[in-house]
């Protein structure tokens, strides 16, 4: 981010520090003043908690008697060994992993499809559809989960016969039940991001393509999609992060389904471990989860960016 402010403006906004510290650029004071609120908040609510979790993850508890008070002692990577040996952790990762490879493509493709449709000249009432597709995203995840949960539960559903035969709340159906709620919520959001990108594409490109004899479908696939690839990739990264951090929706479904345990997703597992209380293990688990999320996002970016821009 570069900011070029006129000198007079700078004088007015931060006169003292600007003059005193001449060793840096003359903008230092202004830069600091503008960036400080962000840095302070970033430090207090982001870096410090992460650092605290990191420190906690290297400690364990020791006691001398059955009800003795705890001492925290350095444990090296012991908590991390527990995390990697924890079947519940891998189970929860497996579940979000399944969602990553099945649900995330669906919600990106649906978003893309909606975006292309409301961007095309074929569809009437585009403004209505844009709002209609986006509306579910305005519904909080918890409310969405309660609402869909009532559809799934045979005794509560307005369509009891359908709910009974689909049986989405048992251990086989629960992933579909969950994926459906999230796809319903997030596809419209993905659509909006991609649609905004489409709006920025110069109309001349379409005219040129049309002159070359391309139909609507070819324009969509060969012109529009490549041009908005960065937006599609962004929704992909957001979806990966969102899926790994699932908490609200499965927690709500837990009240309707035996198939959802307190360790259903990694975040639920961390929350539950902290309430045992086993802060050290919870810290180590969240560090591992954060590293995995970063790694996955990074790998996804590397792969897709090669494909998109080569």
């Amino acid at each position: 981010m570069t900011v070029n402010l006129p000198a007079g403006h700078l004088e007015r906004s931060a006169p003292t520090s600007g003059r005193r510290r001449m060793s840096f650029t003359s903008h230092t004071g202004a830069i600091l003043a503008l960036v400080a609120p962000f840095l302070i908040l970033l430090t207090l609510f982001y870096l410090v908690p992460i650092g605290y979790a990191l420190v906690q993850s290297f400690f364990k508890l020791e006691r001398s008697s059955a009800f003795g008070s705890p001492r925290e002692v350095f444990a090296g990577f012991e908590q991390y060994v527990h995390v990697l040996e924890n079947a519940a952790f891998w189970g929860s990762l497996g579940r979000v992993g399944v969602l990553l490879v099945t649900m995330v493509p669906v919600m990106i493709l649906l978003g893309l499809l909606f975006a292309l449709l409301i961007d095309s000249t074929l569809v009437k009432g585009r403004r209505f559809f844009r709002l209609a597709f986006f509306a579910p995203y305005a519904v909080p995840g918890v409310i969405a989960a309660i609402m869909w949960g009532f559809f799934y539960a045979p005794t509560l559903s307005p369509l009891p016969g359908v709910a009974e035969s689909l049986n989405l709340l048992d251990s086989r159906g629960i992933m579909i039940a969950l994926a459906n709620i999230i796809v319903w919520t997030v596809s419209g959001f993905n659509m909006l991001i991609m649609y905004s990108a489409l709006q920025a594409v110069p109309q001349e490109l379409y005219e040129a393509a049309r002159m070359d004899g391309a139909g609507n479908v070819r324009i969509a696939v060969l012109v529009k999609v490549p041009l908005i690839m960065p937006s599609i990739i962004m929704t992909g990264v957001l979806s990966i992060i969102g899926t790994l951090q699932l908490f609200n929706e499965p927690t709500v479904l837990k009240t309707l389904s035996k198939a959802v345990g307190l360790d259903f997703t990694p975040n639920m597992l961390v929350f539950n471990t902290a309430s045992i209380p086993n802060y050290n293990l919870a810290a180590a688990t969240s560090v591992v989860l954060a590293l995995l999320t970063a790694a996955l996002s990074f790998v996804f970016l590397r792969i897709t960016q090669k494909r998109a821009f080569e």
Binding site: L47, A66, F67, E72, V142, K254, T255, L256, V260, P277
Partner: protein, 476 residues
């Protein structure tokens, strides 16, 4: 992060505010200096310093000469105590105390049920060293809070030890852990397990209300034959231990300083098999308890009975409003040849270790748990049953009849078998984990993916690991 779930679960909050504020204080000063020099390196250092400082102060405890001595505040000093519970309308009990005790005022906050977030908040406060004076603890989590070094031993506080004779034995042993000279809470809510049943349906079908588990199985088959279900087996963690508590089997024992875990022993299998039979023969429903599907089945008369403590007086009417007047309460079925029952739930009032006024806090707790005027409010306005011997004759209000339960005097009924609760039971030090694991594993058992005994074996293994991770010595 807020979680809103069905009717029973309320909003739960990750209560880590205490810690963050502590960090904020020390780091703001650190930051303003650092940012000027080198923002990135400074931030990292600040993070590490802050975190280390915090872990250091978390591990340093109190250092007075006798940590358990309990003396009153100097004469004339006005004491204000802070307290939180989730007992409905407990403010009225507190108001009564405040009007009678101008020098010891209680500042009361109603909070969400312990397992739905309050215990997490308490534990975070203990870690941050910023607790209230008094808290409210289910009997099963008292050991957890004791090993978290959060509770004060009230043994030396005036009048506490002498109150033993007033309390029903099992509620007293739950707060003393069966040890000498230790009292870590005073029982406020007691939950002798009863059988809430649809008197009208049983009568109509000519099925006798079961008094033993053998009769229960026969009744379950007869109820199923009419199209209903005798009960709902929930995956809810806290339900499961009660079955073994009633049978006199111990899940946890203390041998010196070593915890012994006996959740999945061969002698415990018998009880598991009895419950397994109900599941295998599909004689019960298995909905999450007091959630929407369950409530509908209860309201529609599909489910005919529900085991439970006095919380049933509140939860059953709110789940099945259309069935008012048709319910009745009796003692839970017993094992043939025994009169022993279990307690499902219940909670005690405890004093946090770093309360500045343990003497006054204990005085209030003693009053709130034993004074007939307080008990009358607790039971009539809070719906709780106090663990006080023959409480119904001391508190005439508790003889009132309840129209939802066919004008039965429900507290009087409960009083008649309250002392049958098995007092020889010790809760483990990691019950939050045990309950969570029970819930996950029993859910699999109830949906046929494994047996109930298999579930217990998994819970046993996880529990041993969890106790170990608390730095405690454990065997199995």
């Amino acid at each position: 992060m807020k979680v809103i779930t069905g009717k029973f679960l309320t909003a739960s909050t990750v209560g880590s505010e205490g810690e963050n504020f502590e960090l904020a204080d020390s780091d703001v000063r650190e930051d303003t200096r650092m940012v000027k020099r080198n923002a990135r390196r400074g931030a990292v250092v600040a993070v590490l310093l802050g975190a280390l400082a915090l872990s250091a102060c978390a591990s340093s405890g109190g250092s007075s000469s006798d940590p358990e001595s309990c003396t009153p505040a100097p004469k004339g000093e006005k004491v204000t105590l802070s307290l939180s519970t989730w007992i409905p309308n407990f403010q009225e009990t507190v108001d009564l105390w405040n009007s009678e005790h101008p020098d010891i005022q209680v500042d009361y906050t109603e909070v969400t049920q312990g397992n739905q977030g309050t215990y997490q908040t308490y534990l975070n406060q203990i870690k941050a060293g910023k607790t209230a004076d008094l808290g409210y603890f289910d009997y099963d989590v008292l050991p957890t809070f004791r090993i978290a070094d959060g509770l004060r031993n009230l043994y030396k506080c005036a009048g506490v030890a002498d109150a033993q004779d007033k309390f029903i034995k099992s509620a007293w042993t739950a707060t003393t852990f069966g040890q000498d000279k230790s009292i870590y809470g005073l029982g406020l809510d007691f939950t002798p397990e009863g059988l809430f049943y649809r008197a009208d349906l049983f009568k109509q079908a000519g099925i006798p209300v079961p008094t033993t588990w053998d009769e229960y199985y026969q009744a379950a088959k007869a109820v199923r034959a009419t199209g209903g279900y005798i009960a709902n087996l929930p995956s809810w963690g806290t339900f499961w231990p009660t079955n073994w508590m009633q049978a006199g089997k111990k899940w946890f024992e203390l041998d010196g300083d070593t915890w012994k875990v006996n959740i999945a022993t061969d002698e415990n299998k018998q009880i598991a098999d009895r419950l397994q039979q109900l599941v295998d023969e599909k004689l019960v429903t298995t909905y999450p308890l007091f959630q929407d599907e369950y409530s509908k089945a209860l309201n529609d008369g599909v489910i005919w009975s529900q085991l439970g403590g006095p919380w049933g007086f509140r939860l059953i009417p709110s789940s099945a409003a259309d069935t008012a007047g048709n319910w009745s309460l009796t003692k839970m079925p017993v094992i043939d040849g025994s009169t022993s029952i279990a307690s499902w739930g219940g909670a005690a009032m405890g004093v946090f270790k770093n309360s500045a006024h343990p003497y006054e806090a204990a005085e209030f707790a003693l009053w709130a748990t034993t004074d007939p005027k307080a008990l009358a409010l607790n039971s009539s306005r809070g719906g709780i049953f106090p663990p006080i011997k023959d409480v119904v004759s001391q508190v005439p209000e508790m003889q009132a009849t309840n129209p939802f339960f066919g004008d039965q005097a429900v507290f009087k009924e409960m009083n008649s078998w309250a002392e049958d609760v098995n007092p020889e039971w010790l809760w483990g030090p990691t019950m939050v984990q045990v309950n969570a694991d029970l819930e996950s594993e029993m859910a699999k058992a109830l949906s046929g993916q494994q047996t109930i005994f298999d579930a217990l074996k998994v819970v046993q293994g996880n529990t041993v690991d969890a106790i170990k991770s608390q730095g405690l010595s454990v065997t199995q």
